[in-house]
Each structure stands twice: as structure tokens, then as C-alpha cells.
Symmetry: C2
Subunit: 290 residues, 2 copies
Amino acid sequence: MELWFSEEQATNIRFSFKVKEQIYSKQSDFQKIDIFDTDVLGRVFTLDGVIMTTEKDEFIYHEMISHVPLNVNPNIEKVLIIGGGDGGTVRELTKHKNIKKIDMVEIDEEVVIAAKKYLTFTSEKLDDPRVKLYFQDGIQFVKESKEIYDLIIVDSTDPIGPGEGLFSTEFYNDCYSILSDDGILVNQSESPYYLKDARELVRATSKLKNIFPIAKVYQYHLPTYGSGHWLFGFASKKYDPIRDFKNIKYDFTTKYYNLDIHLAAFALPTYVQKMIDESKIVWDNYKLNI
Amino acid sequence: MELWFSEEQATNIRFSFKVKEQIYSKQSDFQKIDIFDTDVLGRVFTLDGVIMTTEKDEFIYHEMISHVPLNVNPNIEKVLIIGGGDGGTVRELTKHKNIKKIDMVEIDEEVVIAAKKYLTFTSEKLDDPRVKLYFQDGIQFVKESKEIYDLIIVDSTDPIGPGEGLFSTEFYNDCYSILSDDGILVNQSESPYYLKDARELVRATSKLKNIFPIAKVYQYHLPTYGSGHWLFGFASKKYDPIRDFKNIKYDFTTKYYNLDIHLAAFALPTYVQKMIDESKIVWDNYKLNI
């Protein structure tokens, strides 16, 4: 018998890997959680059939979502993570000694329970004394929070299912309200390549540009996400990610992020820059209209 | 009926797209040539079941293989292309008015015949008066050539089948011999992510470092190649791709390449830089050993 997992990365486009063993499966109140062992990608965690984390390439996502804002403002002390249930973002953030407090708001406690048991490569720092976990809706948390944060990281799924409200103007406005005067927001911003992802990239970035004085995107190579070409948003009240970039030598090592990559990640291909600048899609199905 | 194409991008990893219609299929003396129409990727050209060109993203590959060397030495006049049967590299090179001569050596005439008929979006400039086509083995051509070139572009398939010899030390030495004193070689250098591709990246780059005083790699996002993270080699007798970068304003537009991307493409993730620097693989199956 051969067991294969397939994800529909776009309409009529599929990515598949052979499964050695399915080691976990649960329908939570919010989504279907599955964990597989594979020989090429290591352990793989999916939500509603979409790859979230693989042991082989999760370091790319988690280093790029964490170290970029910390190299723009190394004095960040209070961080709020929305989502991020596998714990990988916490793992990277805890490497920064200046950080004093990390609040992580994950809507689905079942994800954290599964991650603590089966994804120890990402979840290993969830018990760090600086980390406090809240199992509730991130949208509500941000709306009602009395705390002020230096950094908010929106480590969300795609804007369907539980992740949808995390791409709304109202949510971004509420984030702005609980950020300090030099606060930074980093968010999972989808991909420029397939139409459904590009639409969300343009919508999210366009909303952030209307709220924050500085709103940019930066890219990274993530092989197991559709197209492999993914972006994070960088929205800020004061700091520019290039102008205010700090050339810091850390006492920890990274496997993807480095100082050259920090600067290079903000250099966008012409077609991506055009979508961001003009807040519109330049793909008409497979044809690039520029 | 549904017709699906699947490529094994790595052991137990598959990428698949739904086919609207297979419009061409031929076993040539060298390889199996297939052309499909799809709704998401447009027209797709494969060799021996491996995606070579899609209408949706071929611009990325062809702009990055062509405009990077031309922005380091804009005085390039004579170019040799090894491979490149779909014509996309020729199409981009003919945009540079300084170029006087383009010799293209494609081992498989059947590829060019198919491209001229079915891939007009890449092959449209193969009849440019500066272009001369040779249907013969590129290895033999380079060994016996009396011509001196300013730029050699190795626009090859993976190093299995007809492309294999184009990754050999002997071939690179022969290229060196027919390059002018300020000559540049750009070659398709595979990908750092899956083990089989990473091995070839390391081997090819290590050979070029032994022959050329300057040997670097630069990366680009190509969604329909395995992992989406691909590299070209830049080997040169004199010019450094960053130090000698020329900030040229062209009279043509590009969709991926731009001046920021030129510089950013040479900034490599730490794990890739380490493989290049140490000429060894840092992946042990899915585990990154750094």
C-alpha cells in the first residue's frame, strides 16, 4: 500500500508527498488537524488539508517572521503573536534576550496540544517563562487588550476558515491601537503567484498601507507552500525596515536569515512591486498583464 | 475524463497539473518532448516528463539568465547559448542592441521545431538575423570552436540524459578557453532544497570555482520547478556581478528582473551560502545539519 497526501495549491494544481505514517488526526472545533511522517520532508503538520509546517523547511518561515522586525528594532520587549500554534515563532523569538514578554493568542488549543506532543522541533520553547498562552479568538483579544506591544506578529493560516478575520481592516486598526509609538506589525501575507493568493496579498497590503505610515512586504523561499514564493508584510509606525536596519551580531545562529538576506528580501520582482504599488492583480489567469 | 500530468520533483514528492489538452508528443533521438495546454499555467513544455517551460512563469527564468550578465558587462557583443531550445533566452538577449551575434547550439532539432510551432511566446526571436542555430552536441561545439565569445549561457536541462556533460569540468574548461578576457559564463545550476538538486548545485559550483577567478550563484523564484528556489551560476574571468554592476536604464521593460533584484539575487540564505562556501551538502535527507 502507498499512502499519498495531496494539497490543491491552486485550481487544478496539486502538491503531493508520500506518507510513511499518519501519526495524528483530529477534527477540532475549528479545523481538521493532521500530522504525518514522511521520508523527504520529515514530520508534516496540516490544517484542513493545507501544509502549515514541515520539519524540513519550517526554519525558513519562522526565522523570517521573527528576526526581520528584531533587526529593525532590537529594543522590542513586548510581543504579541496571533496564531502560531506550532510554536516555531516563539522558539525564534525566545532567542532574543531583550524580549521580556511574549503573549501568544491561538484560537485552537488542540493545535498547541498536538504540537507539544508531536511537533517538539517547533514547540520546544512554549514553556519559556516569558511566554503566556491565550486560547481565544485573536480578533477579540486585540480589540479588548489593555496591553501595549512593541511587536505584533500575525502568524496566521490563509484567509479562509479561522484565519479570515485576521486579514480585515478592523483587525489591523485594532492592532495599530495596541502598538507602541514605534510599534511594528509583521503578518503572513500570502503569495504573488497563484491568483487566489495574489488577491489576498494585494488586499492585505493595501489595507495596511491605509493604516500604517510604513507598509512594505518582504519575500522568502518556502518550498512546501504553493509556488514556493511567499511574503510577509512589515507595517510600522516609525521604523523603516531598510533605513533603520541594524547590523547586529547575535549570539545564536540562523539557517536562512542573515544580514544580506534581510536587505535582499525587500527587493521585489517587478510584477510583485507593481501589484503592491497599484493595489491590483497583474495576473489574468496565467497571463501577466504588464 | 480528467487528464493530469505529474512530475516527481524529488523522491516521493510530486507536482501535478490538470491538462486541458495534450497538443504535441514526440520521442526524439534524445528525449521525449511533450506540450500541454492548461488553464492555470498556460502552455507547458516538458522533456522526459520534467517541466521545462510554462507560459505563466518562463519570463522569470529567461529574464534572470539573460539580463544579469548584460548588466555587468553591457558591451557584450558575441553570445553562445548551449541548449535553450524553446528560444526564451534568445528572445531576452535580442532586446540588447549591443549584441551582434548569438550562436545557439541545441542538440535536439526536434525541440526547436516544436517550439517554433507551439511555443511562439518563447521562440518568436529565433529568426532574428543575429541568431545562428546549430543542431549539434554543445560539448563538441565548445571543444572545437574557433570563435571567441563574451558570454556563454548554459541553458540546460538537469544533469541526466542529454544535459549531463554540460555539468562536467572538461566542458567548463572548454568554455573558459573560448571566452574573451572579460568573458562571463552563466549556467543553470539547479536548486539547494531537494537532495538530488543540491548535490548538482554543489558539484557544478565547486568545479566552476576551480576554473574561474570569480564564481558565484544567484537565485530566483521559479514556481513550477521543484521547490521553487532555483539558482544560476555566474562565473567570470574579470567582472564581479555586484562590484561591476551597471545601473542601466533600458528601452525595454521586464516583468521580474530589475536593478534591486540584480543585487538581491546574490544574497543567499545561510544554508545555501554554507553549501557553496564549503562545497558540501548540508542536508541529510530532511535534516539540515548546520
